[in-house]
């Protein structure tokens, strides 16, 4: 990926639109606000910012407002917006890039679920669902959520009680470290 030269000592290219263009290839200014993306968005009824709002705010350099928006983290990446954009704008990819940028600025922006999920991969090389649920509960404070459903999962043989780290778990951890360093 060919990022344009950034200002000395500065992590960011000068503008948000330039940053998005460099990281995703998308020119957010090409969005003409038809709203087709938001019409097909399954989460639009729950989010303050819909996909076409995200595109408009990005095009108008509303960096702080966008990066602080909870709406970014409510995107399911179902890709309906991207599949239907008549001008090839790829809102799903733009939202991923904005989430990554928000996480750069404040690692806490990454919610309890994603942090817990990535912890499992780092620890075992694979996702360990019981560990994910327990870590997520502790992080989110939702301690009683799903306590009645766990026996159902267990009884159906769907819940492993002990994680089995893969042989190459150190290789996976090294990939995590290398990617974090590359993206820093």
């Amino acid at each position: 990926m060919s990022a344009p030269p950034s200002e000395a000592g500065s992590h960011h290219p000068p503008t948000l639109t330039a940053h998005l263009r460099a990281t995703t290839g998308v020119n957010v200014a090409a969005c003409y606000q038809c709203g087709k993306c938001s019409a097909g968005c399954p989460m639009a009824v729950e989010t303050a910012l819909r996909p076409h709002d995200v595109m408009r705010l990005a095009a108008s350099e509303q960096r702080e407002r966008l990066l602080a928006a909870e709406s970014l983290w409510l995107c399911l990446t179902c890709e309906a917006c991207t599949a239907r954009c008549p001008n090839g704008c790829d809102p799903a990819r733009v939202i991923d890039a904005l989430r990554e940028e928000a996480a750069h600025q404040a690692p806490r922006a990454i919610g309890a679920f994603h942090r817990s999920f990535l912890d499992q991969i780092r620890a075992f090389g694979r996702s360990f669902e019981l560990g994910l649920v327990m870590t997520y509960k502790l992080r989110s404070g939702k301690l009683t959520q799903d306590v009645t459903t766990a026996p159902g999962l267990l009884g159906r043989g769907k819940l492993k009680l002990v994680p089995h780290p893969i042989a190459g778990v150190s290789d996976v951890r090294r990939i995590f470290r290398a990617c974090e360093k590359e993206e820093a």
């Binding site: 990926m1 399954p42 989460m43 729950e46 983290w73 409510l74 399911l76 990446t77 179902c78 890709e79 309906a80 991207t82 599949a83 991923d96 890039a97 989430r99 990554e100 996480a103 990454i110 919610g111 309890a112 679920f113 994603h114 942090r115 999920f117 990535l118 499992q120 991969i121 090389g125 694979r126 996702s127 360990f128 669902e129 994910l132 649920v133 997520y136 989110s140 959520q145 799903d146 459903t149 159902g152 999962l153 159906r156 043989g157 769907k158 819940l159 492993k160 893969i166 042989a167 190459g168 778990v169 290789d171 996976v172 090294r174 990939i175 290398a178 990617c179 974090e180 590359e182 993206e183």
Partner: protein, 288 residues
């Protein structure tokens, strides 16, 4: 036929019956599944939502393992894993600078030569063999084929079927002798990875999908993704408590397995939350 097999994390846990039914069906149809040695998680949603390079490097590790283990094609039955593996393959092939960055973090030989297949396309290829061996046990069974998001989108990455008017699942259902219904919600998202973090959203989205399938006269929903199954079967238990009518959710491989006369317990039907065994018993009764 022999193919590399990337089960992904779900198939070793909450989606065990997808692994069990696929292995039983593959064995019946002479498809040899060779599980990749030492495979790791694809990174899933949490990977791509937080670190783009990581979201490519984690799948690339598995594609590199497949290459080293002598495969030219890998089957990823989980639609989410399939999508991440196919996306990594696509993006790395399209961007030499990105490919160099992935190679730098991977630290192992990787030529990006392996193609990635999903459950539906592999079963569709096996369609004639399924029809040849299927009895008439599923005749008259009406099912709604649910694609969700990750099997057909984005079209540039997956491209095995039309992103708005797909037909591949219906083809497999017909090959197995059942009848697909026409309905509207086949491509709407079920809430994906939000099962734990935003259960209310998943229940809202799931209810609309289940209602539409019932309205179209479906007796079961057919899926090809562990997240879809969990959101529509496991999370349906909350809806049933409020008196809603149960709609069994079958993996496509389970439906094919029933058509081939494989025992429901071998296919893992006892692991569902919404009991699918009455459907299986009806199918078995049709045979005799």
């Amino acid at each position: 036929m022999r193919i590399g097999y990337y089960p992904g994390c779900s198939l070793h846990a909450t989606a065990r019956e997808l692994d069990e039914s696929l292995r039983a069906v593959a064995s019946a149809l002479d498809l040899e599944l060779q599980e990749l040695d030492d495979w790791s998680c694809c990174g899933a949603t949490s990977g791509h939502a937080t670190n783009h390079l990581l979201s490519l490097a984690l799948p690339a590790r598995n594609l590199a393992l497949a290459e080293a283990q002598g495969h030219d094609r890998v089957l990823a039955p989980c639609a989410a894993c399939y999508n991440r593996l196919a996306t990594a393959r696509h993006e790395i092939a399209a961007d030499a600078a990105l490919a160099a960055r992935v190679a730098r973090v991977l630290e192992r030989p990787f030529a990006n030569r392996v193609t990635v297949a999903n459950l539906v396309e592999v079963l569709r290829e096996l369609g004639p063999a399924i029809t040849a061996r299927a009895g008439r046990s599923l005749a008259g069974l009406k099912v709604a084929c649910y694609y969700g998001c990750l099997l057909v989108r984005p079209a540039a990455v997956v491209g095995f079927d039309d992103p708005e008017q797909p037909t591949s699942m219906e083809d497999v259902v017909r090959a197995a002798g059942a009848t697909p219904v026409a309905w509207q919600m086949r491509l709407e998202c079920c809430g994906g990875a939000f099962s734990l973090a935003r259960t209310a959203s998943v229940v809202r989205l799931g209810r609309a999908i289940l209602d539409d399938a019932r309205r179209a006269g479906a007796e079961a929903l057919v899926v090809a993704c562990p997240m879809c199954h969990s959101n529509l079967d496991f999370r349906q238990s909350a809806m049933l408590e409020r008196g809603e009518k149960p709609l069994p959710v079958l993996y496509l491989s389970e439906l094919v397995g029933l058509a081939l006369g494989i025992a429901p317990d071998t296919l893992g039907l006892q692991r569902h939350f919404v009991d699918a065994r009455p459907l299986a018993a009806r199918a078995a009764a049709e045979v005799h």
